[in-house]
Amino acid sequence: MALPDVLIVDDDRLLRAMLRDALADVPCNVREADSGDAALVEIERKPPAVLLLDLIMPGRSGLELLKALSAKGLKTRILVISSLDTESLVQQALADGAHGFLVKPFHPLEVQNVVRGALEAAPGAKA
């Protein structure tokens, strides 16, 4: 059976590498996008089961991407990863369609844990 896809969307190359490393023990196929627009292309190609999303990016921001994906009605589980963890912004992200909010700096085990949980909750990524 094919492994589920996890798409990392972050403009920071090192952070993408850290997330990829953190997911090394999780049975999944990790893909990357360095911007909101690149993420949309990746999602059109094949919707991932789980998406790890940064909020601040050049061009299309994370919140804009979140809204666009919600409008598409995808079953992808979206986990926001950000250091901007104020109550009001977390609430907005959840209201805009995020399924979870992970605070930077993160612990690799924390990432593994939430992604495993999201993969279990997302049997298929297609709408």
Binding site: L63, L84, T86, S88, L89, Q92, P105, L109
Partner: protein
């Protein structure tokens, strides 16, 4: 309600967010690099041209006295808590029964360690508070490493403890840069001290390798520490190359945060 897009000096954008979100973020000191604002996500203008945003960004968290008092109090509480958990079992500290599942242990660990992550501290945090958080973070992480090891040991295919005791090093070229993966055995501080001009105090690392490199070669570094789940990832530049007495090169780590420096500092202190 009005929505705004905020752009930083790297043209990275946050938005759309309401004024309440901007105020909350500013109060927490999380918006220190806002350079331009947009009301439609397309046209950006300098912050000074949007008075409501300029006003929201000008909010300061607390006055200096209140902040100093709160930080001293927080430091005292963390120190007292650290003293109180000495000699207590992990079951008591994490409040998980001895037969708790791996997930239960991890959930308890994350909920507890979250408040001590040094990187979560505001820039104005005192060194005492920062150090107390680092100590709490390390104390909890070490306990969790032991717990994870117990779970791994229960699997027949798990690697033996002895297999983890030697420092391992991988050096390879990829994508125009040198990739170094170093897993340090407990007590090994040689990479942080071998090149006296480029030690851990200079955010530098010596890699004992015969690879022929030039100064300024870009590098991608991963450092693992035996007994710790935390790894350090950083980009870097080669700052020195030597052929004797042992060949190798020194790399300046360019992305170290305070938590990572604390990790290295603690490792060196324990190995010395």
């Amino acid at each position: 309600m009005s929505s705004f897009w905020l752009a930083d000096s790297d043209a990275r954008v946050l938005g759309p967010v309401g004024l309440d979100v901007v105020r909350d973020l500013a109060l927490r000191g999380k918006l220190n690099d806002v350079r331009a604002v947009s009301k439609d996500g397309k046209t950006f203008v300098p912050v000074r041209e949007v008075p409501e945003i300029q006003q929201a960004l000008a909010v300061t968290p607390k006055n200096a006295d209140e902040l100093a008092y709160a930080q001293a109090d927080a430091t005292k509480q963390i120190r007292e808590w650290l003293t109180s958990i000495k000699g207590r079992s992990s079951e008591e500290v994490f409040r998980v029964p001895q037969n708790g599942s791996r997930e239960a242990w991890r959930a308890a660990f994350f909920s507890l360690v979250y408040r001590y992550v040094p990187g979560r501290l505001p820039p104005e945090a005192t060194p005492e508070l920062r150090l107390a958080c680092e100590d709490a973070f390390i104390a909890l992480s070490e306990r969790m490493v032991d717990i994870e090891r117990q779970f791994r040991a229960s699997k027949p295919s798990a690697p033996s403890a002895s297999a983890m005791q030697a420092t391992t090093l991988q050096v390879r070229w990829r994508g125009g840069m040198i990739h170094v993966r170093l897993i340090l055995a407990r007590g090994d501080l040689q990479p942080f001290t071998a090149d006296f001009e480029n030690t851990w105090k200079h955010d530098s690392l010596f890699v004992a390798s015969a690879e022929k490199l030039m100064v300024n070669t870009p590098a991608d570094i991963t450092i693992g520490f035996e007994g710790h789940v935390t790894q350090i990832h950083s980009s870097g530049r080669v700052v020195g190359v030597r052929t004797t007495p042992a060949p190798g090169f020194s790399v300046k780590l360019l992305d170290l945060g305070e938590a990572q420096r604390a990790m290295i500092r603690t490792w060196v202190a324990r190995a010395s």
